[in-house]
């Protein structure tokens, strides 16, 4: 086929204007040729015989009259076994392989293949000759680490397909043709272990989308109990710098009860990705006992990498998440940070000279954010099993002020809001999720009645605390003072959690239910103190005892001892009526 070529007529930052003669497709990939290098770009606007394309690389050195090659395919990712444990940039270039080729620096115009073409996989056929299949039905399987990786009928195929040929079980590379199918019009389709899928189109080859109702346990108490997230749900973590967004994401990526975690480091510090990169292979996954890296995939387009690829990176991540969902797995996608992604949209919109919306973000920001989060969800697959994609995105609002377009657009579409506050992080109350401002629409791991006791205590305690700032301790009644101490106690022993402690760092759902039950019991207890100093001392001791208890292994001797001790302490101050 003859190549579809165009000619550069304008360069402005990473935006090219290209003149073309033959048809071009909106959002297709085009390569600008420069000294033998091919710089990848995506067509984003067409006017008359001119196309505008955003280049995913530095455009330095391009000139008017330069050649551009249109490919006719949309920006896609390659899906197949071997994605897990990889580290990709926003365009699915494997970074370790790139490093082998180019050394310390990211050389532009170098695009190694995403999957290893040499590696052999132990293939087991599932479909047999004569079977009738449709898109996303399983043709065969290969083991990938701890998972059974399904090789599926390409998602884009329509109608019923009849299996004509299959290979025997054996060891093959990803490019091996494992089956030949015949579609309704009689054409033969060859199925290999890989398929390409355009990143900006959701994969919809499933039976139906289900309601999100099952909690997804993260082992972070304040989240699971007060502001829970759900399997297949969406949540956001906005917060000013230094409030612990990234740490919270890292903790979740370690402890969340899911099969696969995809980390999209989008426009953030490279150093943070490096920590994950170097530490995860060493860390044990508590569920499987294997290295955490085996269930992790990192898409990494850090702040100094080209901006256009940053925009693509979240789509690359969510497409791969959907792919693993198609195998009946639960996938958690952590995007850090969606604000950087929105900023990439803003930069692009500015170059296109579009009429700006609030704070110069494009007017379509809201719908873009909404359609991204809507790619999360629980689905029933063709074979009746379910899979899910849960999406958690951090937001980095300018000045820590949540009244800005990205936070506000995100809040409209997510199911849980875990807002971090500067005041809490300054007071070293980690995780710094604000218990009064945050909310969640998903079911908690504890009962509604207990939860309401906790919530009420936090609200009332805050009110008393505010009042005390004005009238002092002297002017506060004993009852109010106890409410205040109780709320501080709940905060100290339950909301706050030591992320780096072996036991306290992750609290299971069972333990949360048990502990929260005990604590609400304390909150409900009517107490009597002669003076405020005595009340304060009592709660200091109780806090210390409960914090120690949090650090003990469940049902160990000292754990049981602690339960008794706390019970005893309570008896001494409670009022019997």
């Amino acid at each position: 086929m003859e190549k579809n070529l165009g000619k550069i007529v304008g360069v402005n930052g990473n935006l090219l204007t290209i003149e073309f003669d033959k048809p071009v497709v909106q959002n297709e990939v085009a390569y600008a040729i420069l000294d033998g290098f091919r710089l990848k770009s995506e067509v984003i606007r067409i006017r008359g015989n001119r196309a505008e394309a955003q280049v995913f690389e530095n455009t330095r050195g391009l000139q008017i009259g330069g050649v551009v090659e249109f490919t006719g395919t949309l920006l896609s990712v390659e899906l197949g076994p071997g994605l897990l444990t990889q580290v990709y940039d926003g365009l699915q270039n494997p970074l370790p392989q790139l490093a082998e080729k180019c050394g310390f620096f990211l050389q532009r115009g170098t695009y190694p293949r995403a999957l290893d073409a040499e590696k052999k996989w132990d293939y087991t056929p599932v479909a047999e000759v004569g079977d009738t299949l449709k898109a996303a039905d399983t043709v065969g399987t290969v083991p990938e680490g701890i998972f059974t990786h399904r090789i599926m009928v390409p998602f884009g195929l329509a109608g019923k397909l009849t299996v004509e040929e299959v290979v025997d079980a054996g060891s093959y590379t990803v490019d091996q043709i494992v089956a030949k199918l015949k579609d309704v019009s009689g054409n033969t389709v060859e199925v290999t272990m890989t398929q390409n899928w355009p990143v900006k189109i959701p994969i919809k080859a499933y039976d139906e989308r289900l309601k999100t109702e099952e909690p997804l346990v993260t082992n972070v108490r304040i989240m699971d109990t007060f502001f829970p997230i759900a399997r297949g749900g969406t949540y956001c973590i906005p917060g000013p710098f230094g409030a612990g967004k990234t740490v919270l994401q890292q903790i979740t990526s370690r402890h969340a009860d899911v099969d696969i975690v995809i980390i999209a480091a989008c426009g953030e510090r490279a150093g943070e990705v490096v920590e994950t990169l170097r530490e995860f292979p060493e860390l044990r996954d508590p569920r499987t006992g294997r290295s955490l890296m085996e269930r992790t995939l990192i898409i990494c387009n850090t702040s100094s990498m080209p901006v256009a690829a940053r925009e693509a990176s979240v789509y690359t991540a969510v497409t791969i998440a959907e792919y693993y969902r198609q195998m009946g797995l639960d996938v958690l996608l952590l995007a850090d940070s969606t604000s950087r992604w929105a900023q990439a949209l803003r930069e692009l919109s500015g170059r296109l000279e579009e009429i700006p919306g609030e704070e110069a973000f494009p007017a379509y920001l809201e719908s873009v954010i909404a359609s991204f989060y809507e790619r999360g969800g629980v689905v029933r697959l063709n074979d009746g099993s379910t899979g899910s994609v849960t999406i958690g995105g951090t937001v980095s609002p300018a000045g820590g002020n949540f009244e800005e377009p990205v936070t506000q657009s995100t809040l409209k579409v997510v199911g849980a809001f875990e807002g971090l506050s500067r005041a809490r992080s300054d007071a070293r109350r980690y995780p710094a999720i604000d218990p009064l401002e945050s909310w969640s629409k998903y079911p908690s791991v504890v009962g509604e009645e207990d939860l309401e006791v906790g919530r009420r205590m936090l609200r009332q305690g805050n009110e008393v605390g505010q009042m005390m700032k004005v009238v002092g301790e002297e002017g506060t009644s004993m009852d109010d003072f106890v409410v205040y101490l109780k709320s501080e106690y709940l905060d100290a022993v339950y909301l706050q959690q030591d992320a780096y402690h072996e036991v306290d760092g992750a609290t299971s759902a069972d333990r949360q239910q048990y502990v929260f039950g005990k604590i609400t019991n304390i909150l409900r207890t009517k107490m009597n103190f002669k003076e405020k100093a005595a009340a304060r001392t009592f709660f200091q001791n109780l806090t210390q005892a409960t914090k120690d208890w949090n650090r003990m292994v469940v049902n160990s001797d000292e754990y049981k001892q602690s339960v008794k001790q706390i019970k005893q302490m309570l008896v001494e101050v409670s009022v019997h009526e």
Binding site: I64, L95, F105, R269, S303, R340, F361, A398
Partner: protein, 432 residues
């Protein structure tokens, strides 16, 4: 290729537009007219219209000025002979020495592959206790110094330049007052640190566009040194001027401003500079300290705000001291576990007690009676401020830790400090 163009179509701000062909994006050109010559670089191509930003500004450029394209982007020289020299923002000597043209390399090169980065592990000793003890600077870290106009941030930078245990210091000045420039030059010279330093200085009187080049030139040189197994420390002052220069150009180019007039890509622009900080595995490193003045002492101003999201912590300079509360080195945990066993504990205890001292001060100012404990805290706070926080203190880490113990022992009983018994037994100085 070196065709000369004579007709300038448009002059607006520092940007001129000419009609030319075969021009490369980002290419450098020489613009000469009656009032002098200047470099300019290509910032937009549109058919045969080429927009160039003129480094010395467009003042005095005639419509028939000569424009000659050089065929390469902005470059900087690199060799050992840069050491001890002072240049302006685009690498022209300021110190009457010869021009250097060795190993010209492009500035603003590609970023480091994250897969090739390593977890930082070496401390950079500065001799300043507020940094070494409380917020340790780590090799390959990027940290801003948040401050307001009038604070001695340049004195602090000069002090770090003199004392820091690194191989090469690269100082980038942006919008410096001429006096400050001379201060840096003289101080480094007087204390013999100039021989390991390279300075790229743009003063407030110089053309704005040159200001934009300073960080890139500094970092390109630093990168070359780092790849020659040198530990390079890049000191930049003041990044707010850099951001303002960017704002100026963006407005001239009729870009849509996003927040308080700053361009929408402020974050990416700052990040692409700060992210040059790196520790090359088996080779040298780049550490960046950058003064960022906060207009109106407002940390939510777009420049400090975006900076805070990029850097690994921040130092707050207030009342001529590095503030212990807001300041944070995110990487200190990576190194302060292995310096000396008492380091972390002393760090936390001293700060907690200092926080108590602050509360006592408040009580005192409200006229409450001072208890015994309050008097102890007052004594402690005074000594802490004079002997540790003062910027002129220059002692090695170990000595600073010993000094902490001495201050504690002079002010408190062992049990009052709240330190683990094990450490008290070893380190608490005996009185006498």
């Amino acid at each position: 290729m070196n065709k000369v163009y004579h007709r300038i179509e448009k002059i607006a701000g520092n940007v001129i537009t000419i009609k030319a062909d075969l021009v490369k994006y980002g290419e450098l050109a020489v613009v000469s007219s009656g009032f002098g010559t200047s470099l300019a670089n290509v910032i937009r191509l549109e058919h045969d219209n080429v927009s160039l930003q003129v480094f010395t500004g467009s003042r005095g450029i005639a419509t028939d000025a000569k424009v000659r394209f050089l065929g390469n982007p902005m470059q900087t020289a690199f060799s050992e002979s840069l050491l001890g020299r002072i240049f302006n923002g685009i690498g022209i000597p300021r110190d009457k020495g010869p021009a250097i043209k060795d190993n010209m390399t492009d500035i603003g090169g590609p970023s480091v592959n994250p897969a090739k980065r390593i977890i930082p592990r070496n401390m950079v000793r500065t001799g300043i206790p507020m940094i070494d003890v409380f917020n340790t600077l780590v090799e390959s870290q990027k940290l801003p110094i948040f401050s307001v106009a009038g604070e001695p941030y340049n004195e602090l930078l000069a002090r770090i330049a003199l004392q820091a245990e690194v191989d090469v210091i690269i100082l980038g000045g942006m919008g410096l007052k001429h006096d400050d420039y001379l201060y840096f030059r003289d101080t480094l010279e007087e204390y013999g640190a100039l021989s390991r330093s390279v300075m790229f200085v743009h003063t407030a009187a110089d053309p704005t566009v040159e200001c934009l080049m300073v960080p890139d030139v500094c970092l390109a040189v630093a990168e070359k040194f780092a790849l020659k197994n040198k530990r390079a420390l890049v000191l930049l002052t003041d990044m707010t001027n850099f951001a303002d220069a960017m704002k100026e150009i963006a407005i001239t180019m009729e870009q849509i401003p996003s927040n308080r007039g700053y361009p929408g890509d402020l974050y990416s622009q700052l990040a692409s500079r700060y992210e040059k900080a790196v520790d090359f595995d088996g080779n040298g490193s780049i550490t960046i300290l950058a003064v960022t003045t906060m207009p109106g002492d407002d940390v939510t101003h777009p420049v400090p705000d975006n900076t805070g999201y990029i850097t690994e912590g921040q130092f707050y300079l207030r009342n001529a001291r590095i503030e212990p509360f807001g300041s944070l080195s995110r990487l200190k945990q990576l190194v302060n576990g292995t310096t000396r066993e008492d380091h972390r504990q002393i760090m936390n205890t001293m700060i907690q007690l200092y926080a108590n001292y602050k509360e006592t001060l408040e009580k005192q100012s409200m006229g409450f009676r001072m208890s015994d404990w309050d008097s102890k805290l007052l004594k402690y706070g005074g000594r802490f401020e004079n002997e540790l926080m003062d910027l002129s203190v220059n002692i090695p880490l170990e000595q600073a830790l010993d000094l902490c113990w001495t201050i504690l022992a002079d002010c408190f009983e062992p049990a009052e400090a709240g330190l683990p018994t094990k450490l008290i037994d070893r380190f608490w100085p005996s009185k006498g």
